[in-house]
Assembly symmetry: C2
Homo-oligomer: 452 residues x 2
Amino acid sequence: MEERNYEGLFLLIKAGNFIGLRTELAEMNEVDIAEFLEELEPDVLVRVFRVLPKDISADVFSYLETETQEWIVRSITDTEVFRLVDDLYLDDVVDFLEEVPANVVSRVLRNTDPHTRKLINTYLNYPEDSAGSIMTNEMIVLKDSYTVAHAIEHIRQNGEDMATIYTAYVTDPSRRLRGTIDLAELLFNNPDDLIKDIMDDDAQLIYVHTLDDQEEVAEVVKKYDLLSVPVVDKENRLVGIVTIDDVVDIIQEEATEDMEKMAAIMPSDKPYLKTGIFETYKKRMPWLLILMVSATFTGAIITSYESALAAYVVLTAYIPMLMDTGGNAGSQASESIIRGLSLGDVAFSDIIRVIWKEIRVAALCGMTLAAANFAKLMLLDRIPVSIAAIVCMTLVLVVCIAKFIGCTLPMLADKLKLDPAVMASPLITTIVDAISLFTYFRLATSLLHIAT
Amino acid sequence: MEERNYEGLFLLIKAGNFIGLRTELAEMNEVDIAEFLEELEPDVLVRVFRVLPKDISADVFSYLETETQEWIVRSITDTEVFRLVDDLYLDDVVDFLEEVPANVVSRVLRNTDPHTRKLINTYLNYPEDSAGSIMTNEMIVLKDSYTVAHAIEHIRQNGEDMATIYTAYVTDPSRRLRGTIDLAELLFNNPDDLIKDIMDDDAQLIYVHTLDDQEEVAEVVKKYDLLSVPVVDKENRLVGIVTIDDVVDIIQEEATEDMEKMAAIMPSDKPYLKTGIFETYKKRMPWLLILMVSATFTGAIITSYESALAAYVVLTAYIPMLMDTGGNAGSQASESIIRGLSLGDVAFSDIIRVIWKEIRVAALCGMTLAAANFAKLMLLDRIPVSIAAIVCMTLVLVVCIAKFIGCTLPMLADKLKLDPAVMASPLITTIVDAISLFTYFRLATSLLHIAT
């Protein structure tokens, strides 16, 4: 699809023609309106937001960046805040409140009806990234004694303010979740059929708990190809739903987090350019420092073999190549395992199969690299065969050790309920570096008969 | 949600009670049945697949791994193949045929009605990972002259075999896409209203082209929170749709691919444990070799400063720390930019802002690390102040250079229409290593007045 062009809208603003602007905006998709608003100066933005037709302004608001949302809430009247919160889906209100300063939160809560305020407070109290903190309560709830015709009429009457009408939830008198039914099923069945006879229940019933992590929510929705998943509390009472659009965001967020951890960055949930210098600094510094300190062990190994190095300075020339290759081989194995664990392709019970596979791959890779390297050392560097042999033997060992560590550490972390992504390349590189150098010098000193 | 337990089903198989098994399976979710089938021995699997109620067997088939699907197709009769293909959604048939050997493809095509065969061949000819290759043609198509009541009746009559009924597509007599309408809108509007008056058209119409990449398809669906997106050909004729469940898979696949590239692995689309040793070897070997060769340049730098090293062997001890820290600092910057580019948070036009931000973050990180390191060198290592100063100055420079290279290379790659993810940590580490060592030795030789 082509990029949208907002030229005409800018001209209307310049001409001060806000009535014409309103007509144009009413014809547009809410996502595009939000994109357009983000390009405006703060003052103009609030003016344009105010001329939006009432039935779409809440939708547009939900697609804006948090900073823009905050600016709007600070600029509009209490009455406008009340209406906005009333029109927004509850999960969007909670998302917003989780990000803004306390004085904005209390202003919003002050301008909310007591029932909604109570619900918002409950949601805000669920742990971060739990199903409870991301769910919404705008869902279709049916009784199992309804007929299909009654259910469809119920959806027609109550559906407009719901986050989705495509799956309805069936509860008993004490609000316990008993079944789910898709709107498609309702349309394809006889109007006189009873919901209890056609709904998905028992073995087919799929749901999550309020305290389940959002990653688990995403996994269930993805596995069963759902459009929304019900959330129940400890007593199995239906308290909300999470819809597919939020699940798509979660999947993307979790992948970003894993990539950040793999690159030794502490996860952040803000886009790159919206994150301040000091915030970025704080997210990157801890791992840089930890890894620098651990790299000094590698230095200590070199120091302890100083005499070997002084006798054969040529050995130093191959340190970077051995360290880099070991690091790369380890990263490859750890990436494969970390991603496999997070997608559910690999589990701790597979550890023997995984290690056996990695060892064989490592042997193949190591020997190929050693062969290529030996040719290069003999033909280009023209170093003594003994040194070349030591370098190449080290290479094979280093690749094997690196792949072994690269695959076992993330699995052990997972077993210990730590995050496997933290065991990713930078940490593994540091460990592999130390082991590579130690192997290299041990081999060199014993084969070249150097006293250490 | 709790894990499903298939104990009872295994017992029924052991007892040879396939009628009882069929009754149990009929009550289960298709995804769970597929999961259960994957745990069976090949022979038993086909027997169980055959007892599945006809209305769910195609659905179950679509959730199986390709290898299992292939095994089933090879084991069943031509008539059964015909019925299976007829019951499957077209995109699932195409997905399957893209993965299996030619003799399986031709057997399936032989047992397909001519119209479907023609369509399948068209889809197979679209470029890999294009919208055309992943779409399906099972969608609700309406005329804009229909009333709401007529449209709902049409969906009731024709909806059962469709990939989704929640969005319907409106075309003109020459099949050009004119608008879309959600089932929710149909339910909330007056039965006598005309589709043309209530559908999303013109500025609101969202679609993709057959040749668009699947990543673009996913982006559009995600941006506009769609449940399905229409695919049009060059003449703007509606040829298919892509549904949200496929988009979720694409998003996950693309994230995995990026992670693999960042870890110097060539992308593969098979789960880790399903990939053979040689396949894994082939995916990992190329980058290991390329990076090993480039690391030899780093070795060459060391060789050219051999005399400096011979005079001050202590310098060697800090090589690993400098190289590792440079590599880590570079990875952090490159990960942030690569992910930002892929999520659309960062564009090439931001390059100046990005560099300016990275330089400031690098200065902060570099100075913090240098301070920590200087204290350690003086208090623990007790090396001469001059050497400590050289190490710490190099550290600051290395972090700055690493962050600069880490942020600019992916952006340049993106500008040159290369994949930024390939410019990730391993490549950047190699480049940064060479530059770090060069800086280190330049500083050391000039400040310590060593002749090289």
